[in-house]
Symmetry: C2
Subunit: 214 residues, 2 copies
Amino acid sequence: MENKEISQAVISRLPRYFRYLGELKDEGIERISSQELSAIMDVTASQIRQDFNNFGGFGQQGYGYKVEYLYEEIGKILGLDRTHNLIIIGAGNLGQALANYMNFERRGFLFQGIFDNNPNLYGKKIRDMEIRPMEEMENFVREHNIDIAVLTIPKTSADAVARRLVDNGIKGIWNFAHVDLDVPKSIQVENVHLSDSLMKLTYNINRFEQGCYS
Amino acid sequence: MENKEISQAVISRLPRYFRYLGELKDEGIERISSQELSAIMDVTASQIRQDFNNFGGFGQQGYGYKVEYLYEEIGKILGLDRTHNLIIIGAGNLGQALANYMNFERRGFLFQGIFDNNPNLYGKKIRDMEIRPMEEMENFVREHNIDIAVLTIPKTSADAVARRLVDNGIKGIWNFAHVDLDVPKSIQVENVHLSDSLMKLTYNINRFEQGCYS
DNA sequence: TAGATTGTTAATCGATTAACAATC
DNA sequence: TAGATTGTTAATCGATTAACAATC
């Protein structure tokens, strides 16, 4: 249908719209104008309308937007109407926590397996799913049509593991390892660099304190 | 000294510079030009020079940048030359994982306590630190001069807890709860919305697949 | 119909890139 | 000194905001 590239700035805002619209829906609110949404979300009404119009018109002139419809449409744009097979690589603290904590199934992410290369962990169960040895990863990815791998392994091994995943047909990597992965452009990577995020926080804390005295 | 506001776009890039410079330093490399760094990091040399010059000149014309000096200076800008007292609120999967997984001390983040409101967890030890009841939080924050609170609690209670932290002098919140906290502008908030990040990934996976057929 | 609000074009603002003079 | 590379100004590009015509 369309081929125009939508900027990542817009994409980054979609999950937030989705969240607010979900809450409005749960409150039983049926319609909302860009003006009202603007007030709630603290972004300009203009930006809201521009953002939505990247994907075609979801609203009605003189009326506004139907909350439920808009919610559904944004969900579809984000790919939440499909299911995605997901595995976790690295069953350390973070890997186990994500397996337990994320309500993956709720949004169509099917948690299919968790892998580690520590033999002491083999067979241990995380959410009714036993930890598998890393060597089984390649076959597993192919046989279970895994789309997404969550990388919660040390940065030293991340690139090598990523390559093995790519070679076996993975489509996207949710990367918690503290490196910039070197994978083909066709593989989508979303980085979560936690320590970077914490550094931004300390910058802003210090900036504010300095700002007070000058 | 200076009062000009530096854009968050620049700040977001600093931790990545810091990481690469740290690696170069560890490899024993003493000097680097913006050109060379550009090739390694895949950003333009122009942007590198612009970014650094927001904070004054760190380089030498005709020579380039001294790796170690630049590394130290960026660390200072990010506030990593100071120590920050940090507590974790919420000792669930994610809270415990962060306590164990993050090497907080390495960057001057002193892990001082972890709190929960589940009595079954009271006294349980996480990294030699026993889980404390939530009621003790206020006094603890004041008495131990806590700067940063890591919020790993459900979104329903996040705003109320944030208010209590703010009232007791917290400076920054590292927020893993899936809400936009309503706190004064003087309190710095850094959000880590994991499910938003995962949605961006699926958008990009789907976009790429669609792109292939059109 | 009149009022409201979108969709969309135009104007503004900010961030990135290019160019080059300053200088080590 | 000549060559290299920064610091900085100018040009470009993209994203946000404002304005308003289309239309429900």
